[in-house]
C-alpha cells in the first residue's frame, strides 16, 4: 500500500476519533438531557463516517474492489439514529416539561405529546 494512501486513511481515522471524543465530552459537559442529545448525533455522523470512509479506502487499496458494507452501515445509521433521538426527546418532554414551558405550536392543535390528533377528538 503506498504511503499517501496510508496517510489518507490515518487522517480520516484521526478526524473520526476527534469527533467521537467531542461527542463523548459533550455528554459530560452539557447540562440537561435534551442538550446532551446533541452530542451523540456528532459521534454517529462524522465520528462513524470517518471510520467508514477510512475502511472503504483501505479495502479499495488492498483488494481493488469497492466494499459496499460501509455504505449500508451509513444507510442503517441514518435510518435508525434519528428515531432513537426522537424517542428520547419525546420521553424527556413527557416526563420533565409542562405544556406552558414549550413555545406554542401556533396552530389550532397543540404538540402531539399533550394534544390528541384531530381524528380522535369527539365531535370534530
Amino acid at each position: 500500500m503506498p504511503l499517501y494512501v496510508e496517510i489518507l486513511i490515518s487522517v480520516f481515522l484521526v478526524i473520526s476519533g476527534v469527533f467521537g471524543f467531542v461527542g463523548s465530552y459533550g455528554l459530560i459537559k452539557l447540562k440537561d438531557s435534551v442538550q446532551r442529545l446533541h452530542a451523540p448525533t456528532k459521534a454517529t455522523t462524522l465520528g462513524v463516517g470517518g471510520v467508514l470512509i477510512a475502511s472503504m479506502i483501505y479495502f479499495i487499496a488492498k483488494t481493488g474492489h469497492i466494499s459496499i458494507h460501509e455504505l449500508l452501515i451509513t444507510l442503517f445509521l441514518f435510518l435508525t439514529a434519528p428515531i432513537t433521538a426522537n424517542f428520547i426527546a419525546k420521553a424527556y418532554i413527557a416526563r420533565n416539561m409542562r405544556e406552558g414551558e414549550l413555545p406554542s405550536s401556533g396552530g389550532r392543535y397543540g404538540w402531539a405529546v399533550y394534544d390528541d390528533p384531530p381524528e380522535s377528538r369527539p365531535g370534530s
Binding site: 447540562k31 392543535y109 402531539a112
Partner: protein, 164 residues
C-alpha cells in the same frame, strides 16, 4: 393487473435487491436470483403495512438533497464541536423552535424530521397533533428565526419538490 399484484411496491423491491447484493458484497447470478426472490416475497408479505406508496417525482433531486444534507452535516459538526469545546456552559443558549411545515405526506415529514436530527445542533422533538408544526430543539442559537428559515428553505423546499 397481475404485475401490480406480483410487485405491490416496486421501489421497496428494488431497495431490497440492492441491499441484499450489498450485504453479500458480491454480484453473482446466484445472489441476484436470491435477492430478487427476497425482493418479491417480502413486499408481498408486508403489503398490508404499506398503505400508501410514496411517489418520488424527481429522482435527480434526491441525489441533490443527499449531497446538500451531507455537506450540512460536515459544517454543522464542526460548529457544534466548537460550541461544546470552547463555549462556557452558562453561555450555551438552547432554544425550542416551532417550525411550521407545509409538507403533507407522512414520508416527507419523516425524512424532514430525520434530516433535522442528523444535522448536528438541531434535534426534532415532536410534531403538533395535526402534523402542521414540528418542534425543533436547537443546541445554541442567537437567531431562532434564522434557524427556522434555513430549515424551510434548505430542506423543506427540496422535499416539496421530491415528494409533492
Amino acid at each position: 393487473m397481475i404485475l401490480k399484484r406480483l410487485i405491490p411496491h416496486p421501489l421497496l423491491s428494488v431497495t431490497l435487491v440492492l441491499v441484499w447484493l450489498g450485504l453479500v458484497n458480491t454480484v453473482s447470478l446466484g445472489n441476484l436470483i436470491l435477492g430478487t426472490a427476497l425482493g418479491l416475497i417480502i413486499p408481498a408479505i408486508t403489503a398490508p403495512y404499506w398503505p400508501n406508496r410514496p411517489t418520488i417525482r424527481r429522482p435527480l433531486k434526491v441525489a441533490e438533497y443527499f449531497l446538500v444534507v451531507l455537506w450540512d452535516i460536515v459544517v454543522a459538526n464542526v460548529e457544534v464541536a466548537l460550541i461544546i469545546l470552547f463555549k462556557p456552559e452558562k453561555n450555551i443558549a438552547s432554544k425550542w423552535i416551532p417550525v411550521p411545515i407545509e409538507l403533507k405526506s407522512p414520508e416527507a415529514i419523516t425524512v424532514l424530521a430525520g434530516t433535522i436530527t442528523m444535522t448536528p445542533g438541531t434535534v426534532s422533538a415532536t410534531l403538533s397533533a395535526d402534523a402542521s408544526v414540528i418542534l425543533v430543539h436547537c443546541l445554541h442559537t442567537d437567531d431562532p428565526d434564522g434557524v427556522r428559515d434555513s430549515i424551510k428553505s434548505r430542506y423543506e423546499r427540496r422535499l416539496m419538490e421530491i415528494f409533492e
